[in-house]
Symmetry: D2
Subunit: 350 residues, 4 copies
Amino acid sequence: MTGNSFGKLLKITTWGESHGKGVGVVIDGALPNISLSEEDIQKELDRRKPGQSNIVTPRKEDDKAQILSGVFEGKTTGTPISIVIFNKDADSSKYEDIKHLFRPGHADFTYQKKYGFRDYRGSGRSSGRETAGRVAAGVIARKILEKEEIKIIGFTKQVADIKSENFDEKEIENNPVRCADKDKAVEMEKIIIKSKEEGDSVGGIVEVIIKNVPAGIGEPVFDKLDADLAKAMMSIGAVKGVDIGAGFDVVEMKGSESNDEITKEGFVSNNSGGIIGGISTGQDIVIRIAVKPPSSIKKEQKTVDTDNNDTTIQVEGRHDPCICPRVVPIAEAMAALVIADHILLQKRFS
Amino acid sequence: MTGNSFGKLLKITTWGESHGKGVGVVIDGALPNISLSEEDIQKELDRRKPGQSNIVTPRKEDDKAQILSGVFEGKTTGTPISIVIFNKDADSSKYEDIKHLFRPGHADFTYQKKYGFRDYRGSGRSSGRETAGRVAAGVIARKILEKEEIKIIGFTKQVADIKSENFDEKEIENNPVRCADKDKAVEMEKIIIKSKEEGDSVGGIVEVIIKNVPAGIGEPVFDKLDADLAKAMMSIGAVKGVDIGAGFDVVEMKGSESNDEITKEGFVSNNSGGIIGGISTGQDIVIRIAVKPPSSIKKEQKTVDTDNNDTTIQVEGRHDPCICPRVVPIAEAMAALVIADHILLQKRFS
Amino acid sequence: MTGNSFGKLLKITTWGESHGKGVGVVIDGALPNISLSEEDIQKELDRRKPGQSNIVTPRKEDDKAQILSGVFEGKTTGTPISIVIFNKDADSSKYEDIKHLFRPGHADFTYQKKYGFRDYRGSGRSSGRETAGRVAAGVIARKILEKEEIKIIGFTKQVADIKSENFDEKEIENNPVRCADKDKAVEMEKIIIKSKEEGDSVGGIVEVIIKNVPAGIGEPVFDKLDADLAKAMMSIGAVKGVDIGAGFDVVEMKGSESNDEITKEGFVSNNSGGIIGGISTGQDIVIRIAVKPPSSIKKEQKTVDTDNNDTTIQVEGRHDPCICPRVVPIAEAMAALVIADHILLQKRFS
Amino acid sequence: MTGNSFGKLLKITTWGESHGKGVGVVIDGALPNISLSEEDIQKELDRRKPGQSNIVTPRKEDDKAQILSGVFEGKTTGTPISIVIFNKDADSSKYEDIKHLFRPGHADFTYQKKYGFRDYRGSGRSSGRETAGRVAAGVIARKILEKEEIKIIGFTKQVADIKSENFDEKEIENNPVRCADKDKAVEMEKIIIKSKEEGDSVGGIVEVIIKNVPAGIGEPVFDKLDADLAKAMMSIGAVKGVDIGAGFDVVEMKGSESNDEITKEGFVSNNSGGIIGGISTGQDIVIRIAVKPPSSIKKEQKTVDTDNNDTTIQVEGRHDPCICPRVVPIAEAMAALVIADHILLQKRFS
């Protein structure tokens, strides 16, 4: 109700700030008797963490997940799973200099307006570090989905104006961009490095494909599967757009083109992106999200201080020139949480 | 939880099928002591109803709203407002012929899969007629917003490949497309009529602008204002994409371009679309939605029957060749519900 | 969130005032493909309605339930079931005289304080008539429970100081008090009539027994089965106390007495009332509720008017001298809703 | 939804098992800018902890609360407050012996049935230790209430058949029973010690009085203030009954007795317990709860093992012979959470 929980039968609550004691998540509604270890969680966290490659922030954060509850003898008990990732003693001193400034594109200004008060170190609660809790929770969701043989594949589809043209799933984790097109990945990497050298940043598109969701999942009319996915994706900090299936391309299609015809072998096309009327069709669910260029850049920008005096700012420090590679596991986690939740909801009819 | 309610402190629950007794909505959480009449509601419903012009379905539906509770002596009491719109005795006989067929692009197939059973008349619960309840509820939300001088403007921004170039608010209700660009409206109308003559349909983009939302509204980290808006919009049947502010354009922007610089006069640009970190900035909130071409078309399409035999279908009857003009009031209503809800949520800090 | 909904996977929303257009309920989350007719609902409503006997209010209200949605060809579709009970044109003129007075024991004062405004006719939203929606919804819950062979039995256990001593289920509907003890029912009836003749009213205890709930139902630690039942019962207007199993008798028991020992034939006793740690044990679930004497009495009582001047009031009209017989079906309905909801919740583990 | 969260605008989620890594709570919806320290929380936790006196369990647990998020420079930020209480390395070896036995009165049997699997050490998730999180969260609720000058007083009203006769608030924390009647406290203490010596345990009644709640708080018709309080109280492990105001005494009252008359000086009596129609009257809110004798007793009792063989059990270890003194701060915390939540809800009308 007040914003830090997500989900219905599989509900997560995240907490924590980037420069506080740590970040974490409580997962309520995990099925009992599922194997779960800290290593399972760590593996996914490592895909999200800083310092993985030359195109993400070189900050070193260990992001060591600890399970504090809900697991006994290596198995979930069905009770809440509390996971904590303690922050290392971060150096917050550099934030002293900019604590009276609102960084453009950051939530500094809006948090100040909402709460009248904010933790200015790092980005406080609005830090991308909050998503570590989501990724950890996503591991439990994935375990539920595995029982149904549902598979989630995320990748970077576009960076700046470089669009991937081929899809080879096994390439995704082979390049730092997490692109499924080996050749385009090289170009993407170059443009990211160039932007970093210019003290700037670039945006991109991340796509998530969800395979093997059975037909019939989703709750009309408000909690449609696509509506819940849209919310899930838009709740990721850098995301400014979400579309599903043919997405914005439907605008220039005719009904006779966008309708997916059906034959006894199944659907002929998948413009619906696997969801019609808010309910899964059994086809692949396909979502794309528009990821904005990171706000923290070295280039000088105009801003004001908390007394509304004009000034300028250059955001120093080691920031991501393109966040897409690190958004991939987050978007996958959010997709996993939504699908697992709806799978559990549908069980009431069993 | 099971899909037919939306909102937190201002919560609506819709019910009804297109060919049942009627459709309706219960609004829980309306402020007390607000003037409300059936005429107030009717005015908005008339913007949604069929038969308004030559470019929407010529079906005549009266859509007469009746208020059954929650209003006493012309004012809301703070208790649930129940609104019902009885269906006229619709002729369901024509649906007998296609009750064993899954119309491409329709939710026939998915409802059958989810519930194992469906009301095949019209589109049953998945009918666009369900949104009449949303529009009615939106009127109460608007009343709450009016107290805060918040204003919501929806319009058709694009139809097929015709993009509006100018924005003149007062033109919107002057043309059947609900386009804010008088000249482009004429072109849009033509392309819609042409598509209708071809037994086909066209898509488009609807934009909603929300003015005067104070800075500080929205609940991080999951119930972000943009996340809730995305869900609200994606829950409208024909919508396949949602973006906010610069939206999908951020993909090809640099951080130095997409960041909205700040001066003592305020933000220099509005690429954020009025929301940063899930919280309103005080600028206009700007959302766009991709509206697919209506699925019901006269052109012959391949489909299967409920026994999975190959066949074809031509959807007869009077259907909308472009649903954008009628989506405008629905999208406005959903936006009003989200904003009013978050305005009420923020009051807990007062 | 704002009070007029109840339940998780089986959620009801009631609306309506005693002297408005009607009262009703929307049930969201009913299973599809369950037979449901207006007669099914009417049968339960008739147990709640006024005018059934000489010991309840002689008011005649027809309470005719109409199903407006969610049922197709005699079966639930899984979509929301909207049920309305239109009010007959009630004579509200008598309330003109007391519209400036706060009736002792009534919610007049508190509604005025909360909303700053109230529908003074009848009891507005706080009328017992609101519970007609609960009873109607309870019918759908019972249908879900029938599939699991769960049975709910409510009865009046005590009226004033007359306590029932025997339990014969088939007597319950054979006497106007709905007491399971034939002889005590006669005494209860007498004391109720006497109190009515004195212009006064009496209280009592209603008990609800739920049979055949399988072990393992309930959600620790807050949504315990007993916690949800307690809320459900306490939300019925006249209820001032709820206890479960040995209830308040545990206060003077020792642990060695109150613990239910277990043998291979099962539990030796049922002091737990069928619930331990918030989860069902498989034994009968037994709840008792303390029902206050109705507030509307002819005896003169001190009160104030809306300007806080001292005055007195005699509540004229035809009121119930004891509400227990009519509370029985309401308490059963609330119990059915809670149990059905938790049965559905548990299915996620299937 | 799945049971481990409580509240609407002030929502808490507890996690943890008695012999796992720790227990904790996440509080979402705290107001920003409230002073909060670990000492504030510790003070209340110390009232709940074991080993305070000769009449509670002599186990020594430090129960040191750590705040991990949501507080910056000594003040709440409005973001989630995560509090953890690490468990000391508890000796779980003694539970090996009884891991195949269901302790009578314990949730061993029901957890096994629900989840098919349980953490048998201590009482796992069903341990009273879970309530440490509630008490910690209650501190934040109290801070919100202090701003409104609302005060909460809990005390032991009865132990076994010893009923307190006087009420002197300042005595409560002066005796180990937390009784407001100095003389009766001595008798209560004696009966508790006697029961302990007999290897048995005793029950009692805890009362909570809430002062200065303004009139108009509470959300009809389901989320009534008394309904939410009843749920809150019944969710505490040992509680088998809840009543409000005159409570179960209304059963034998007449309407002319139970109605609280009103004069210009206010209500003449408080049989309503400060709540009518689910909304506060402005009088003291008075709740009583029936607390069962602790289940863990040394006396031999019949039970079965997990293969349903008859056997007996004696629960060794250091257990509470009467839990009332330790329930007092828990019941206060739950009351504080409910009232604070409803206070915040009412602000939407401001």
